[in-house]
């Protein structure tokens, strides 16, 4: 078999993080090579290096045995590397033909040669066995069809190396079958494909080999027929838990929060209970509906149906305002996007959810506002030269503490953390964990959504795992392992001897 691609000893670091260290990967012609690893293991960093988005700090890349430097995405394209991302890079208002040949349309003088454009598009589509019209506008196509257009586009570049990033995430079963048909066709043509997916069960259908990376480290490459899902999962998570989490004795009380029958087009959750002083972790893969669940509980998104109980009493939550009134707070996943107003001051951010309590007859008691901000800057040790510093000048950890302060000043009974420690350094993480423990001491019911499995295991008293908008499993702290969580997250059951 000819080796199309060889990535050797690739290392890459970002400020404060070693994203990849000494990772190697080879790809043969006509092969589907699965790349496995947890969220944040370094898969996408590796693929971004391959496509010229990032430059490796160390390591070499060979294509067809020749050493290459991939300085930018254009170069990657010239080298025959195409990536099909989860989010498509198509222009929705242009036709299929114009998308595939974007900026490369055949010309007749000054004008696009439409006839030729349609002809050569049709040739590619026929070749792939697709019945999409070249003239159809991309926005009228289904998600699966749009993905096929991406494939056709990759073919039009004569790409020999194709990276598929979670290609089945948004597809139905029958669409997945069609996708796999196309993958088989491309294999027969000698195209090599790197296939990234969290759906381990589907790899058996198409993968020839599999490589595992974990925490930026290369773990190994195996023929797929030699591994089982169990072995794969243990390789993906096999890291030891060290003392990253503050030890803590919980005083768990009565049920403080309950949600029943949450239904929306992305959610189908029957029941969640959280007791006072309890931390319930919610694990699951990206797109499993965890954030959607949090937003539904918090009244940020509309649902068809939901029943929420706080302290045993049914409450009607139809807006974020009513959620806060009923003692529910939500710390969002992306503090820069929707957790903070970055060009406002620390003081304004801390007090943002506290305005009603600061107001007397509509006027803000500025002294109370100042005191409140000073109190939390002090008690949470938010490092800022002044409370009138703009939010954007603070570090990630201090920004996150400010978001926390925003909720602490309200009389919060239930607090939802969505990825509470994403993008902050280890020290600040520890502080956030300590604050969570302190809150639980004070009897707050905490729901913690996290993609970081050690964090889920280290902090939760109970773990709920989501898959496809449903709770697919529940684990107690004592029984929980990364393997069990991952199996539930992939939609597999945790009974012995299944799914291997």
């Amino acid at each position: 078999m000819t080796e199309l691609l060889k990535m050797c000893g690739i290392s890459k670091s970002f400020p404060g993080v070693q994203a990849l260290s000494n990772v190697s990967l080879t790809l043969n012609a006509g092969e589907v090579h699965a790349l496995c690893g947890e969220n944040g293991a370094g898969k996408s960093t590796l693929m971004k290096i391959l496509s010229g988005v990032y430059q490796a700090d160390e390591g070499e890349i060979f294509i067809n045995g020749e050493k290459v430097a991939i300085e930018n995405t254009k170069k990657a394209q010239q080298l025959g590397i195409s990536i099909i991302f989860q989010e498509f890079n198509l222009c929705p208002h242009l036709s299929v033909a114009n998308n595939i040949w974007l900026d490369r349309q055949p010309k007749k003088g000054l004008f696009v040669d439409d006839k030729k454009l349609i002809e050569q598009t049709k040739a590619i589509l026929d070749d792939l066995g697709l019945s999409i019209s070249p003239k159809a506008l991309v926005r009228t196509l289904s998600v699966a069809e749009q993905q096929m257009v991406e494939f056709a586009k990759a073919i039009s570049f004569n790409s020999r190396i194709l990276v598929l990033d979670e290609p089945t995430a948004a597809l139905t079963e029958s669409e997945i079958d069609r996708l796999f048909n196309i993958i088989h066709k491309l294999k027969a043509k000698g195209v090599g494909m790197i296939y990234i997916s969290h759906r381990l069960e589907e790899l058996a259908r198409i993968a020839d080999r599999v490589s595992v990376i974990r925490d930026g480290q290369y773990i190994g490459t195996y023929d797929y027929k030699d591994v089982t899902i169990d072995k794969l999962v243990s390789m993906m998570v096999g890291r030891e838990l060290n003392n990253k989490f503050p030890s803590h004795k919980r005083k768990i009380g009565k049920v403080l929060f309950e949600a029943r029958n949450i239904r929306s087009n992305k959610l189908n959750v029957d029941n969640i209970q959280v007791r006072s002083g309890e931390i319930v972790g919610i694990a699951g893969l990206m797109g499993a509906g965890r954030t959607e669940l949090a937003r539904a509980i918090f009244g940020a998104d509309k649902t068809y149906h939901k029943e929420i109980f706080v302290d045993g009493k049914p409450v009607n939550i139809n807006s974020t305002t009513s959620a806060i009134k009923n003692g529910i707070g939500y710390i969002t996943e992306d503090r820069k996007k929707d957790g903070l107003a970055l060009n406002m001051t620390v003081e304004r951010n801390i007090n943002m959810a506290y305005i009603p309590s600061l107001c007397k007859k509509g006027f803000v008691d500025e002294n109370a506002a100042k005191e409140n901000a000073a109190k939390y800057i002090d008690s949470l040790r938010i490092k800022t030269p002044s409370m009138y510093q703009k939010m954007q000048n603070l570090s990630g950890g201090n920004q996150q503490k400010t978001v926390l302060a925003k909720w602490l000043c309200n009389d919060i009974k239930v607090l939802i953390f969505d990825e509470p420690t994403r993008g902050i350094d280890v020290g600040a993480k520890y502080e956030i964990y300590e604050l969570m423990n302190k809150l639980s001491d004070n009897g707050v019911a905490i729901i913690m959504i996290s993609s970081d499995l050690p964090e889920i295991l280290g902090m939760s008293d109970r773990i709920l795992v989501m898959h496809n908008g449903k709770i697919s499993g529940e684990l107690n702290r004592e029984d929980a392992t990364q393997e069990k969580i991952l199996r539930y997250a992939a939609g597999l059951s945790n009974e012995e001897g299944k799914g291997a």
Partner: protein
């Protein structure tokens, strides 16, 4: 005790840091204003700086400034109101019509302002409930409100003068151009009072805090329990109200409401706000800045007139200044976000 000490040092630091940036912007605009005054003072051999001329400028600036205050609220939300000029015409003509129909003056003024409030409410509903882009929504209502204005006046001015009631005419003339304390124009007094009231609303109330939060990051504001729709609606209503106030003052000065009154004023108002440091991207701005911005425009126009600069050249100069103002604002933001 040590806690107190910490707080007091904190306070000291706080005062140094407080709004350094905004202060700079205001200082800059104010500096430009003073420089223009000195420049024109010298070039006109002092006649620019005569009290009467300065008071004339204050009178001329008044409708733009009042309108600019309302626009400042809308701009802070990250929106815009292109219909504000039409609402000037609408508010003025509704008020005048009410008077000609025999309604008492205070009631007529209230009706006129109400007309502006309703116009603002309509804009706000388009923007919030129907989620039409503010630019497009208010571009549409710009036509619609102008059309309504023409309909009320049946294409003609509504003249209070024509009533022939000297008492009513004199009251209106006073509202539109009369003086108090000997020489200070009454509309300017109204403008100052409005500035103070709205300035307090913006800087001291819960609504003001919500407004900045919404303009800074709408989703964050919503997820902090702020009623974004109500906040934005209120901003558009305030804008409608200030526009109709400006319209009533304009109509009162002539004792006649022109159906084309206020045409293009929305752009002057936006320019005043922007020159004064209000950001078209939302989240930043203030009333004092808008006052200064309006005066920069007024001083330029008046000074260039005194210097007998061609009206068309004046437009070029004023236009250039607006672009420089916005460019400065954008560059400043860019620098901050790095």
């Amino acid at each position: 005790m040590s806690g107190e000490l910490v707080t007091s040092t904190k306070k000291a630091k706080v005062n140094i840091m407080k709004g350094k940036d905004e202060a700079l912007q205001k200082f800059l605009a104010f500096g430009v204003l003073i420089m223009l005054c000195i420049l024109f003072g010298v070039l006109t051999g002092g006649s620019f700086l005569k009290i009467d001329n300065l008071l004339t400028i204050a009178l001329q600036v008044t409708p733009y400034a009042i309108l600019g205050f309302g626009l400042t609220f809308v701009l802070i939300t990250g929106g815009t109101d292109l219909s504000a000029g039409s609402v000037i015409g609408f508010g003025g003509i509704v008020c005048a019509k009410a008077v000609t129909m025999g309604v008492s003056i205070p009631v007529a003024i209230i009706i006129g302002i109400l007309a502006g409030i309703i116009a603002g409410l309509i804009n706000g509903l388009f923007v919030t409930k129907l989620e039409v882009t503010p630019f497009i929504a208010t571009l549409g209502t710009q036509f619609a409100f102008r059309g309504l204005t023409q309909l009320v006046g049946q294409g003609k001015p509504v003249s209070i003068q024509a009533l022939g009631d000297e008492k009513i005419i004199s009251v209106f003339r006073f509202i539109g151009g009369g003086t108090v304390f000997g020489r200070i124009p009454f509309p300017t007094i109204i403008m100052i009072i409005t500035a103070i009231v709205l300035g307090i609303v913006l800087s001291k109330t819960g609504f003001g805090r919500r407004l900045y939060a919404v303009g800074s990051n709408e989703e964050t504001a919503r997820l902090s329990g702020i009623n974004v729709i109500k906040t934005k609606l209120t901003a558009y209503i305030i804008c409608g109200a200030t526009a109709s106030m400006a319209g009533i003052l304009l109509a009162a000065r002539l004792a006649s409401a022109q159906s084309n009154a206020g045409q293009g004023y929305e752009l002057e108002g936006i320019a005043a706000a922007v020159i004064g440091g209000t950001s078209v991207m939302g989240g930043e701005g203030g009333i004092l800045g808008t006052v200064i911005g309006a005066f920069v425009m007024g001083v330029l126009r008046n000074g260039l007139n005194l210097l007998k600069v061609d009206a068309f050249v004046q437009m070029v100069i004023i236009g250039t200044i607006i672009v420089i103002g916005v460019w400065y604002d954008t560059a400043r933001r860019k620098k901050q976000s790095v």
